[in-house]
């Protein structure tokens, strides 16, 4: 009786302590979230802006948003946007085109590659090292890791 109890307890311990391997459960993402704010306001005021095109010139086949290229876009005003990071580089330049002026934003980052479970795809995670711009008034780094469950923007851009 006692041996049976110990055996069952041992088996229960083995089964209950196994990790759950969910390949869809990613904790990191491959884009930084950038919020736009008015630079000359006393209170922190969100800025809603319409860019003609947001893209990375080094990878100009792809764009994040473009009212000129995407005719189906009915509302191109945004107050925040996601900027993808390329895993095979450690810096990326983005260009924000408007009718009057083009803004550039450079993000330097550290990619990290890891196999969490051997039955799942390898996963990249990123951490922002620095970000700067010659055209925006200021760029603030709020949260360096690009996390799936983050509650703040990664970058705040004031202009």
């Amino acid at each position: 009786m006692r041996n049976g109890f110990i055996l069952i307890l041992g088996l229960w311990s083995v089964v209950s302590c196994q990790e759950i391997k969910d390949c869809e459960l990613e904790t990191s993402r491959d884009y930084a979230i950038v919020g736009f704010y008015e630079s000359d306001s006393v209170e922190k005021e969100v800025k809603t802006v319409a860019f003609a095109k947001v893209y990375a010139p080094d990878y100009d086949d792809y764009y994040y948003i473009s009212s000129t290229s995407d005719t189906t876009l009915t509302d191109d005003t945004i107050s925040a946007t996601g900027l993808y990071l390329y895993s095979e580089a450690e810096t990326i330049d983005y260009l924000f085109e408007t009718d009057s002026i083009n803004y550039s934003l450079t993000i330097e980052y550290t990619p990290h590659l890891r196999i969490y479970y051997d039955e799942c795809d390898p996963v990249y995670s990123y951490k922002i090292d620095t970000a700067y711009s010659n055209e925006f008034d200021s760029v603030a780094i709020i949260y360096r890791p690009l996390g799936e469950f983050q509650t703040t923007y990664n970058l705040e851009v004031y202009f």
Binding site: G10, S13, V14, C17, Q18, E19, D30, Y31, Y59, D61, Y62, Y64, Y84, Y86, S87, E88, P111, H112, L113, R114, I115, Y116, D118, E119, C120, D121, P122, Y124
Partner: protein, 259 residues
């Protein structure tokens, strides 16, 4: 953490079975000697002097008397039955009084990702070295039960290739490598073995590995660490089953008080 719980259960069962079959029978003689000494000297006062009369300090015998060289049969089994892993492992131990200096060396290679869309390979060698204390110091038939502390190190490399499916940049192939990785850790060991025929010994070592550090990591984190286990685990448990031979060049006196 994969399989650690199973290891613990198996190791606990092995310890119980081995202790019953080896230590219990062989220690009965020593226990009898102890009870005889205690009863024969029951009139001796339990003062430091009296205790010295019961257990007079023995002379240390630091001169080595044997060298035990062993092959890790579990590593050999893994190489035979696992299509994606190759392991070899050897261990040597030399006695100094009731202590041993143990050295372990092995090689490991592993492949992962077959059928999962990536290819990962790791290969390298490892060693560990450290002292052990033999608790069966009064047993002369070759059975030993040791506890030890070791420093472990692995020199290895790994490579990973796979295809990234990016929302923004499209599909592209990625290749990453760590050519010169060095892992260091500490391990606590328990070794139990006995001589089954002439100088042929069989036994096992249970290791609990802690304080794992890895140097020279690039963009990619390693997955397998030779001699340690998975990189994602900061601690590790491993069981080695050894088949070995004892080269003995002199008989050692019983490590108890002189009669």
């Amino acid at each position: 953490m994969k399989g650690i719980q199973l290891h613990i259960v198996l190791v606990a069962a092995l310890i119980v079975l081995s202790w019953k079959s080896v230590a219990q029978g062989r220690l009965s003689g020593a226990a009898n000697q102890f009870s005889q000494r205690s009863s024969s000297s029951s009139n001796t006062e339990r003062t430091p002097q009296g205790i010295k009369e019961i257990f007079p300090p023995r002379e240390r015998d630091w001169k080595p008397s044997m060298l035990r060289i062993s092959y890790d049969a579990i590593a050999g089994g893994v190489s035979v039955f696992d299509d994606y892993k190759r392991r070899t492992g050897f261990q040597a131990a030399m006695d100094f009084d009731q202590y041993f200096l143990a050295v372990e060396y092995g090689t490991e290679s592993s492949e992962r990702g077959d059928g999962f869309g990536y290819q990962y390979e790791a290969q390298g060698n490892y060693f560990s070295v450290g002292p052990e204390v033999n608790l069966l110091k009064n047993v002369t038939d070759g059975s030993i039960l040791t506890f030890g502390l070791r420093y472990g190190q692995a020199n290895f490399s790994d490579q990973l290739t796979f295809s990234v499916d990016s929302t923004f940049f499209g599909d592209y192939d990625v290749s990453a490598a760590n050519p010169d990785l060095i892992a260091r850790w500490m391990e606590m060991t328990m070794h139990l073995s006995t001589e089954v025929w002439k100088n042929l010994t069989v036994g096992y070592t249970v290791r609990y590995k802690v304080a794992r550090k890895v140097k020279n990591i690039g963009v990619m984190a390693p997955y397998d660490v030779p001699g340690f286990g998975l990189y994602e685990d900061n601690t590790g448990v491993r069981l080695n089953f050894y088949i070995g031979w004892v080269f003995r060049w002199r008989e050692k006196e019983l490590l108890e008080e002189k009669k």
